[in-house]
C-alpha cells in the first residue's frame, strides 16, 4: 500500500472531523439540524456509551462501532475521529513551527503506572460514585468546553465586529449577537485543561492521549488485539531512527524494531518518514513485544513563555468579554428579600436532577447551542459531581416554550428527546412570588412583566389597590420556564423566581375557556 497516501488521507479526514465538531459547537446561529448533530456526535466514545446505558437510544451504537474499528485497525479513533486528538495534532504542528525540537519526538517509555491507574480510577469512581472524573476527562467533552468557552466568544467578537461595520450600511448579513458571560469560576476547569493539553501537545505530541485520556488508554488495551498494525519489515530497516523521531506517540522503539500498539494512534507519519519503506501498515505478524529503553527528558526553556502567553490570552479574553457588559438603570427601590432557591433547574428531557447528573459529561454542546442562552455551566449547584454540567439560569435567559433544541442534540442521553407538546407539559420547577419585592407593592405602579411573559398564565394578575393589578401564581400549570424570573425588573433580588423540581413533574394543560368578548356587529364607538 502506498504509505504516504495513508497519512494524507488521515490529515484530510481528521481536518473535516475537526471542522465539523468545531462548527457544531460554535454554531451561534443554530443552523445545524438536530439530526445532523446527533449523527456526528454519535461516534464519540464516552457519550455513546452513556447513551447506550441510558437504555433508550439503541439505534446509535457508536461506541460499538468504535470498538470494532479499534479491533480491526488499532487506535484509528484517536487520529481520525477524536476532535481533541486532532486539535492536539494541530497544536503539535504549531509547536514544530515554534521550535523544530518540539516535533522531534523519539521513543519514550510509557507512563504505565499513571495511565492504568487513571483508567482504573476513572472506571471505579464512575461505576461506584458517579460521573465526576469522566466529566473532567472525556476527550470529546473537554473539546466541547474549549470551543464553548474560548473559541465561541472569539468568533462572536469577530461576528459582532463585522455586524457593526455592515450594520452602519444597513446590511444585516451578520447579526450582532450578545456574548454570554459566565461566572469567572466556570473558566477554571477548561482553562486548566487548555493549559495542560495545550502545553503537552505543543511540545510532546500525544502525551496527554497516552497518559491521561481514559479513552486513549482503554482503546490502547483493545488495540493489543488489533488486526491491522504498523510493523517493521525487518530486513529493510537501516535503523536510521527517522520513524521514531516523527512519532507523536513516542512509541516506536526502532532499535528493537518494536512498536507499542497501545500507544500508537495510527497517524501513519512514520510510514511517510521511512526512506527505506521498512515500515508498513498491514495484517499483524505475531511477533513478541519487547519493552526497551527510552530517551532522556529534555528541559524546556520555552515553557514559561507559553504559560505567560496563555495567561495573557485568557486575561485578554475575559477583558474583551466584560467590555460588552450593558448598562442597567438603577432601581428606584431595591428589593429586600432574597430568593430561596432550593434546587437548581436542570434542562428539560433530563427527567430530573438525580438522573441528569449521572449521565451528563458536561460537553457543553447544549450550552453552546441553546438559542436563548439560558444554559450555563454549574459550579456547585448540583454538588461537586455536577461541576460544569449545565443548569438553567433565569437571570441570563429563559427556557423558550416551543424549543426542544438541547434535548434533541444531547450526545450522552442525559437529555432525552421529547415532543414539543410533551415538553410543554414538563414542569422543570415552580414560580414563587415574593410580594414584598414586587414593583406593584413597593412603587405602587403597574408592572406585570412576569405575567406578560408567562406562556401558560400560571402567573396571572389579580386586582390590587385602585386600578393596580398584582401577580399571583398557580403551581399546577406552571412549567418553570423562568420567563417571569428573567423579565422581573427588580434588583438585586427578583420578585418572582423559579424553584427547581428535583424530579421534573407533569404540568396541567393551561385553561382553555371561550372568550367573553364577542365579535362586534357595529362599531362600538
Amino acid at each position: 500500500m502506498t504509505t504516504s497516501a495513508l497519512s494524507k488521507i488521515r490529515i484530510f479526514f481528521s481536518l473535516i472531523v475537526l471542522i465539523l465538531f468545531t462548527s457544531v459547537l460554535v454554531d451561534f446561529r443554530h443552523l445545524f439540524p438536530e439530526k445532523f448533530i446527533n449523527i456526528i456526535t454519535s461516534i464519540q466514545f464516552i457519550p455513546s456509551v452513556i447513551k447506550f446505558f441510558s437504555g433508550v437510544a439503541a439505534v446509535f451504537l457508536g461506541f460499538l462501532a468504535v470498538l470494532a474499528l479499534t479491533i480491526l485497525t488499532g487506535r484509528t479513533y484517536c487520529s481520525f475521529l477524536c476532535p481533541l486528538g486532532v486539535l492536539q495534532d494541530v497544536f503539535s504542528r504549531i509547536g514544530g513551527k515554534i521550535k523544530k525540537r518540539f516535533r522531534r519526538f523519539g521513543f519514550r517509555k510509557p507512563h504505565n503506572v499513571l495511565r492504568y491507574t487513571l483508567l482504573l480510577f476513572t472506571l471505579i469512581v464512575t461505576l461506584i460514585y458517579g460521573i465526576y472524573i469522566l466529566t473532567l476527562l472525556d476527550p470529546y467533552s473537554i473539546f466541547g468546553r474549549f470551543m464553548t468557552y474560548f473559541l465561541k466568544p472569539l468568533i462572536l467578537l469577530a461576528n459582532n465586529f463585522l455586524a457593526g461595520i455592515l450594520g452602519k450600511r444597513h446590511i444585516y448579513t451578520f447579526v450582532d449577537t450578545p456574548i454570554t458571560r459566565f461566572p469567572v469560576f466556570v473558566y477554571v476547569v477548561p482553562s486548566a485543561f487548555l493549559l495542560l493539553i495545550g502545553l503537552l501537545s505543543l511540545i510532546k505530541g500525544r502525551l496527554f492521549c497516552n497518559t491521561v485520556c481514559p479513552v486513549g488508554t482503554f482503546l490502547g488495551l483493545i488495540s493489543k488485539i488489533s488486526i491491522l498494525r504498523i510493523k517493521f519489515e525487518g530486513a529493510k530497516c537501516t535503523r536510521c531512527g527517522r520513524c521514531s523521531l516523527v512519532c507523536k506517540s513516542s512509541c516506536i522503539d526502532f532499535l528493537n524494531e518494536n512498536i507499542d500498539t497501545t500507544r500508537c494512534v495510527t497517524c501513519f507519519n512514520c510510514l511517510k518518514s521511512c526512506p527505506d519503506k521498512a515500515l508498513s501498515y498491514g495484517f499483524v505478524s505475531l511477533r513478541k513485544n519487547k519493552n526497551i529503553d527510552m530517551g532522556t527528558e529534555q528541559v524546556d526553556t520555552e515553557r514559561r513563555k507559553i504559560i505567560l502567553g496563555s495567561v495573557l490570552f485568557l486575561l485578554g479574553l475575559s477583558g474583551t468579554v466584560s467590555g460588552q457588559k450593558s448598562a442597567t438603570p438603577k432601581p428606584t427601590k431595591a428589593s429586600t428579600i432574597k430568593e430561596d432557591k432550593k434546587f437548581p433547574v436542570c434542562p428539560p428531557g433530563s427527567t430530573g436532577i438525580s438522573n441528569f447528573i449521572k449521565k451528563c459529561t458536561a460537553c457543553s454542546l447544549c450550552i453552546s447551542e441553546c438559542p436563548n442562552d439560558v444554559l450555563i455551566p454549574s459550579l456547585k449547584e448540583y454538588g461537586l459531581i455536577g461541576i460544569m454540567q449545565p443548569r438553567l439560569d433565569y437571570y441570563k435567559g429563559f427556557c423558550a416554550y416551543e424549543c426542544t433544541r438541547c434535548l434533541e442534540i444531547c450526545p450522552t442521553g442525559a437529555l432525552m428527546p421529547l415532543t414539543v407538546d410533551a415538553k410543554k407539559l414538563t414542569q422543570l420547577g415552580r414560580a414563587v412570588f415574593i410580594r414584598e419585592n414586587c414593583i406593584v407593592k413597593t412603587e405602587k405602579t403597574a408592572c406585570g412583566a412576569c405575567s406578560e411573559s408567562c406562556p401558560t398564565k400560571a402567573v396571572h394578575m389579580i386586582p390590587y389597590e385602585g386600578k393596580l393589578l398584582i401577580p399571583e401564581t398557580r403551581d399546577d400549570i406552571c412549567v418553570g420556564c423562568g420567563h417571569c424570573e428573567f423579565a422581573c425588573p427588580t434588583t438585586p433580588y427578583k420578585a418572582i423566581y423559579v424553584n427547581g423540581n428535583y424530579e421534573h413533574k407533569a404540568a396541567k394543560k393551561p385553561d382553555n375557556v371561550k372568550s367573553e368578548v364577542k365579535k362586534p356587529i357595529e362599531f362600538p364607538f
Binding site: 455586524a163 442597567t328 424549543c403 425588573p489
Partner: protein, 306 residues
C-alpha cells in the same frame, strides 16, 4: 317592526351597501391622488385586513399623501412573541405585506421592518410569518436583538422617561408607520399603538420598574412619531394577553383602524375590547399630556363596513 328585526335588517342593509361601496372603491385602490378629507380616524369592518387597508388608506388620500419619492420607511409591526399568526399575538403578516407594497407604490426607496422581540427573535420573525411576508414585499427585515442597534435619545416632555435607547432605524428613516395588533394585556390591560413602541426601545425593564403607564405615555412625547397608526384588529386576543394561551383567546373581529392620532386609535381599540379608554391608565395619561384625543365624540371618524 321589532327592535331586533330592525337591527338585523339595518345590519344586512349596511353590509350590502358596504359591499357595493367597497367594490366601487376597490377598483382604484392604487390611485394616490385622492384628496384628504381630514378624518382623524378611519375604522373598517368586515373585510380581510389587506383589503380593508386598501380601502382605508384611500380616505387619507393614499399612501402617497404620507410618503415622498425616495424616502426610507419604517414599518413597525408587533412581532413580540414566538407564535403563529392564528394566535393573533403578532400583527397579521398579510396586512404588513400590503402596507409595504403601498409604501413602495408610493415611491419609497427602502422599507424596513423590525421589532424588539421578547422571545427568541429568529423564531419570532419566522413563526409570525412577518419575515417572509415582508421580504416577499421587498422590505428589509432588520435585527433588533442587541443593544448595539440602539441609540440613546432624550424624550422632551417625558415626566419619568427622560432618556431611552431607541432602535437606530427609528432615527434613520424618514417615515414611520406603527402597525400594532390589538391585544389584551396582563398589566396595562391593553396593548395597541402606544404600547407597541416598547418594541422599538432597548431597556423595557426601566419602563416596568419606573411606572410603566407613565413611561408608555411619556414615550409618545418623543419627536419621532408615526405618521400613521394602522391597528390590526382582524383577530383580537381578548384575554391571556399579550402572549395568549390558546386559540380560545382570539375573537375574529375583522376590523382595522387607521389614524394619525395614536391616542384616538388606542381609545377606539379599547372600545373594541369592551373596555373604557379612561380605565387604561396610559391612554388617559397621554391624553392629559395633550398627545392626542381619547374622547371619541370629538374625533372625526370615518366608519366603513364592508
Amino acid at each position: 317592526m321589532k327592535r331586533r328585526d330592525f337591527f338585523k335588517k339595518s345590519f344586512n342593509a349596511g353590509l350590502a351597501a358596504g359591499t357595493a361601496f367597497s367594490l366601487r372603491r376597490y377598483g382604484n385602490m392604487w390611485e394616490n391622488e385622492g384628496t384628504s378629507v381630514g378624518y382623524d380616524l378611519v375604522a373598517l369592518m368586515g373585510g380581510k385586513p389587506e383589503t380593508m387597508f386598501d380601502l382605508g388608506i384611500q380616505e387619507f388620500g393614499g399612501m402617497g399623501a404620507f410618503i415622498k419619492k425616495g424616502q426610507k420607511v419604517l414599518v413597525k409591526p408587533n412581532i413580540g412573541w414566538d407564535r403563529t399568526p392564528e394566535y393573533a399575538a403578532t400583527t397579521n403578516p398579510l396586512l404588513v405585506k400590503r402596507i409595504i407594497e403601498h409604501c413602495f407604490k408610493a415611491g419609497a426607496k427602502e422599507v424596513y421592518v423590525f421589532d424588539h422581540t421578547l422571545d427568541n427573535w429568529v423564531n419570532c420573525y419566522r413563526n409570525s410569518g412577518i419575515e417572509r411576508a415582508s421580504k416577499d414585499a421587498g422590505a428589509k427585515v432588520v435585527p433588533a436583538n442587541s443593544e448595539s442597534y440602539y441609540q440613546e435619545v432624550s424624550i422632551k416632555g417625558g415626566q419619568i422617561l427622560k432618556t431611552t435607547k431607541v432602535h437606530h432605524l427609528i432615527l434613520e428613516t424618514d417615515i414611520f408607520l406603527n402597525v400594532p395588533v390589538l391585544k389584551d394585556h396582563s398589566s396595562t390591560r391593553m396593548t395597541c399603538c402606544l404600547k407597541n413602541m416598547m418594541g422599538s426601545v432597548w431597556d423595557r425593564g426601566f419602563w416596568h420598574k419606573n411606572n410603566l403607564d407613565q413611561c408608555i405615555a411619556d414615550y409618545a412625547n418623543f419627536e419621532r412619531k408615526p405618521v400613521l397608526n394602522i391597528v390590526d384588529c382582524s383577530n383580537v386576543m381578548t384575554k391571556n394577553g399579550p402572549q395568549g394561551v390558546s386559540k380560545e383567546d382570539v375573537v375574529n373581529m375583522q376590523t382595522l383602524l387607521i389614524s394619525p392620532d395614536w391616542i384616538a386609535a388606542d381609545a377606539a381599540a379599547a372600545k373594541l375590547l369592551g373596555r373604557n379608554p379612561a380605565d387604561i391608565s396610559y391612554i388617559s395619561l397621554a391624553h392629559k399630556m395633550g398627545l392626542g384625543n381619547m374622547n371619541l365624540e370629538s374625533v372625526n371618524i370615518k366608519r366603513i363596513k364592508m
